[in-house]
Amino acid sequence: MTAHRLPNGGRVDRAAPVRFTYDGKRYTGLRGDTLASALIANGVLEVAPSSYRGRPRGIVTAGVDEPNALVLVDGSLLPATTLELHDGLSATGRSGVGRLTDSTDSVRHDKRYVHCDVLVVGGGPAGLAAAQAAGRTGARTILADERTELGGTLLATKGFDLSWPGLAEFPETRVLSRTTAVGYYDQNYVVLAQRNTLWHVRAKRVVLATGAHERPLVFADNDRPGVMLASAVREYVNRYAVAPGQNVVLATTNDSAYQVALDLIAAGITVSAIVDSRPEPPAALVNQVGVEVITGSAVTGTEGRHRVSAVHIGPDRSIPCDLLAVSGGWNPAVHMFSQAQGRVRYEERIAAFVPDTCPQDLEVVGAANATYELAACLAEGAAAGARAAHLAGFGGGTAPELPPVPAESDSAHRPVWMVEGDETLQFIDLQRDSTVADIRRATGAGLRSVEHVKRYTTVGTGLDQGRTGGVPAIGVIAELLGASSPGEVGTTTYRPPYTPVSFALLAGRDRGELHDPIRRTAMHSWHVAHGAVFEDVGQWKRPHHYPRAGEDAQAAVLRECTAARTGLAMMDASTLGKIEVQGPDAGEFLNRMYTNAFAKLAIGSCRYGMLCRADGMVFDDGVVLRLAEDRYLTTTTTGNAAAVLDWFEEWQQTEWPELRVRFTSVTEQWATIAVVGPGSRAALTPLLPDLDLSAAAFGFMTFRDTVLCNGVPARVARVSFSGELAFEINVATWHGLSTWELVANTGATPYGTETMHVLRAEKGFVIVGQDTDGTVTPQDLGMDWIVSKRKDFVGRRSFSRPDTARPDRRQLVGLLPVDPDDLLPEGAQLVAGGVPLTPPVPMLGHVTSSYRSAALGRTFALALVAGGRDLIGRELLAPLGNRVITATVTEPIFYDPEGTRRDG
């Protein structure tokens, strides 16, 4: 035992020594210690100096409100006062500033999502009583407490049996220790941080029993090591059996410090004096402690350097000591309550902001509700717990019997906001090193709002978010502005989280692969086995190209293109979004959504359709199949599938609820194989024995339901995104891989997204999102034919706006670089020939797609160009920093403009 460890008492395990390192030195503590109590046990009270002024600082608190004793452990900045000691712990004192290191964090963080009837936050006397009262009714009850053990202030109270609530007997009651409620959101949605688990709790009723935080006192040199909160001194002595000092002076504004004095005396520690701001503290308390009580007085300064050696009470009196325990009153911990949108009011009698009204289904009990006497806390907690359970449907609402406790007193407080002395040494926020002088400067600058003063002085912006300094600052502001009370000044807003939460805990498992689920098609393994290079399209992995040995991407794409145009090729098109639209009004609905008409589309036919936003700009496109009178299958672009489904739902639900139509995403249910090229008919004939694939029997833009040669049912459509003869085979996802292999065995060349892009660009087919950017109308794309003149649809009205009829809108055109080997970069801006290239240079448009074409034997591009169709035949320049590419404007179709190839 060290000299600072008391010979008996405490909730530490004296048989379990724990070795740890602090600032490179080795020490030993006990199981049950925090780092702070273990340091005190080793006589270490001084911690890292202050951040800005480099002043010596010491441990001030025993909990989450610690402003000084911050340490770096495994790259995390944590308060030593809440850090459980464990063997091998290695901590470095820090002046409030963390340091991130690149070491990988191997810890897995997770989330839990639970519902309960009653959530009790805080496991002190009031919370325990509430949890017992609720739990015994059978209500699903959760009790969360931030500490290692339940009990709250009872842990620092001698002779109290903590097993009384018997929570373990209630099967529906869950006790979460080391669990801090950090966020309180709408509808009783409370977020709890428990080490590596973040709990999301939706509670029918909440009981907040979050306790109170003791306030420090503000006087010159109040930051000296050895100035400690009285409640912390008590906790160190009673709970951890360590003595932060041997000769103590207590300074207080209220009754609570007297019990501290009694406990210190009982532990054999000298209490030299109590300095009480009140002229007449309760005589019973004064008599009971039996030490000198200096009434109607306040501490005005301290002496010492790395440790308090004496305190001053006015100019004339000085008392030697090695510890000054202060109690400037108590702040109910209203953080959670305020986050829940509760309002606080200032209560003069106890000089504190206390809970008032709140719109959520919660109650505040115990010290958090400014109820400080133990018996009253228990009664209030039990009543609230029983009531909460009852309101949630459990029990009759009567509170259980409570253990008898000794009476305590809580007579009126007398706050001391300001005392005489050097204001530049009167610290308000120890972490920010801000003082009364700073606040005086702020109010002198004309600032009246506490929010302004906070920002001017940075009070309350440190790691403890003003838990210690916040209310004293408000008291000082009130005095300086001559306000009637701190209530007139008001508080700043309490915001989540209540205590710091690591990024990793918030991120949970959504990292790496799980950051965004990867979607793979049924044929993915085949693509991998055949060397595909993938690209991310939305959440999907799509083959970009399939390089063969010795081929670069360019060569592979040219080869794949040639196969599709001259022979036989195949592509995995499963990722296209697929939405079934069903109901008697399906046709009418699609008519209202698409620019072109679908109500009269024949069953068994397909039609390409386009969707616009309300502003008339292209939003998505795809082929729609009519499966039955009341049933369509629409396809969307890969990346937009969810957005289109949402779009349909939004219009149906909010604008046309009378339409009898429903939407189901079937993207994942189908595997789709596009079989492309002049050889496709011959290749597929043996695979589709029941179908006549001739152009006459199976026309373009129709589909057939059939059975493949291997017995797999399939839907085959004659659609083409390349201009070549093509068949699209759709099978249930289960059969996707085997069907793909069946087709691959015909000798078809697999191709990826890049080849698809080149082929469609040669034909002048746009890709929404690449050739459009939310500012492009169908007419701009030269697709007037797809915009119905006869029916109304989303976006139609916008086409009559003057700007959408402007002749100089950006229009889709083709570009052929004058040098057929020059590849225009996608995203290149285009300017007219002859304009000086000194900024600002007027821009006419930009290159949206650009490729090398095997079929054309040259490069080509698509572009959006202002008044572009009138520029066909002219040359434009693409300035690219150190070079300029010249290109001729063309029609946006480069290959088979007559469409002779699609029927084979």
Binding site: S51, G54, D74, S76, L77, V97, G98, R99, L100, T101, T104, D105, Y185, R441, G444, A445, G446, R448, S449, E451, H452, R455, G462, Q465, T493, R495, P496, P497, P500, V501, S502, F503, A504, L506, G508, R511, G512, H515, I518, E535, D536, G616, G769, D773, G774, T775, R801, P802, D803, P825, E826, G827, A828, Q829, P839, P840, V841, M843, H846, G881
Partner: protein
């Protein structure tokens, strides 16, 4: 020891009572309202002006934003006004004699998909031709500029490149607002706090003044600059504006030794981050999707954003969130602001800055002051008139280069 912030001036502003009438009344004492007041005095010699603020000065979005300043917008109209702002930022610390920690540390916009790359390249080319500094960086150059970004190809959405605007950066928002406020106050402009506008005094379609919680105030011209609450305010005058108000959240970490040298934004792995002068990481992401006027958001939006942050910056895993908050942003259909006249005589609006108006503060003040002083738009805000929603001449930064903030 930590970086010390520059000291604020001894005196900031008076706290006058409102007079009965003014030449110009500005409703909303955020950055834009205060900058407008300043430029009314500086550029137009108009000082018979009151700024009416319902709470404390610059306590709205001005106090809540993540302070990213850049001008690398795609469209000419946007580039012109934001670049004007950036040039003003470069001169303002001296002009206003206030060190508001303007730091041109460079902003990276990361690209994670081929489409991101196309858009980035397009924007860089457009910026360069518009005289806005812009570069395209490959992943290795990204790593060189910001060593903590994970550019490894194995991550879920690998970094394929980034746009860089070297002159872009951050500033300290409160200090900016106070700098404008102090100088406006010096010019005799009344900054009136705790003064909520609750209605309009009118004669038919002509606005004559405002009703406030501190009494009626008459004015020749009234300029609204109420950000997220503009639609509520305009509603009091019977005007419906094309605005959707959404919560937008942000957060800070504890103070950390310098790790992050610039500003990084990513739309695909949605988060943006800088490290403020004091040392805290400042980050944000997208809006909460529902409409609201309550200045708070949902926790899952924060969780999503932290997951994104760790994808890009694994080194942040052990940092802590110490405070989250929300502001209400006013989003227009094309994500560009509305600055100019309304159908009601003498009533002007400046709103719709959405998630990205901090960077525009000086230019917004410049052109709005011009508009309020002359009754006509400045060439820079002409394209941003309310009529564009009728004519269709949108300036769609949303769809075009989906970069917010």
């Amino acid at each position: 020891m930590s970086a010390v912030l520059p000291e604020h001036p001894e005196f900031l502003w008076r706290n006058p009572d409102p007079r009965r009438s003014y030449e110009v009344v500005i409703v909303g004492g955020g950055g834009h309202g205060l900058a407008t007041a300043y430029y009314l005095a500086r550029n137009h010699g108009i000082t018979n002006v009151a700024v009416l603020e319902r709470g404390w000065l610059a306590g709205g979005n001005m106090a809540r934003n993540t302070t990213i300043i850049r001008s690398n917008y795609l469209w000419d109209e946007s580039a012109a006004i934001y670049e004007h702002a950036l040039k003003q930022w470069e001169a303002l610390p001296e002009e206003l004699d206030y060190d508001f920690l303007f730091s041109q540390r460079g902003v990276l916009n990361l690209a994670h998909t081929p489409q991101d790359v196309r858009e980035g390249v397009r924007r860089v080319n457009a910026n360069q031709l518009n005289g806005v500094d812009a570069e395209w960086l490959n992943p290795d150059q990204v790593k060189e500029f910001c060593p903590i970004v994970d550019i490894s190809p194995g991550v879920r959405y690998p970094v394929l490149g980034a746009t860089l605007q070297p002159r872009a950066g951050i500033a300290k928002h409160d200090h900016v607002a106070w700098a404008f406020a102090r100088t406006a106050d010096e010019h005799g402009i009344d900054l009136i706090q705790d003064c909520e506008v609750t209605g309009f005094l009118r004669d038919g379609d002509k606005i004559l003044g405002v009703q406030t919680t501190r009494g009626p105030i008459m004015a020749d011209r009234i300029g609204l600059a109420a950000a997220g609450h503009t639609s509520v305010l305009a509603g009091l005058a019977g005007l419906r504006l094309p605005l959707q108000s959404h919560p937008l959240q942000a957060l800070v970490s504890e103070l950390l030794e310098p790790v992050h040298p610039c500003v990084v934004m990513s739309n695909h792995v949605h988060v943006y981050v800088s490290q403020a002068h004091k040392g805290e990481l400042v980050m944000g992401a997208g809006v909460d999707p529902y409409n609201s006027y309550a200045q708070r958001g949902s926790v899952h939006v924060i969780e999503r954003q932290m997951a994104a942050a760790l994808e890009l910056f694994p080194i942040f895993a052990r940092a802590h969130v110490i405070r989250t908050w929300g502001g209400i942003v006013d989003v227009t259909p094309d994500a560009s602001p509305i600055i100019g006249a309304t159908p009601l005589a003498n009533l002007f609006v400046n709103c719709g800055w959405g998630t990205g108006g901090f960077k525009a503060t000086p230019a917004s003040g410049w052109v709005y002051a011009h508009t309020l002083a002359t009754g006509r738009a400045h060439p820079l805000n002409e394209p941003f008139a309310l009529e564009r929603f009728t004519t269709g001449a949108l300036i769609d930064e949303h769809g075009a280069a989906a970069v917010a903030h």
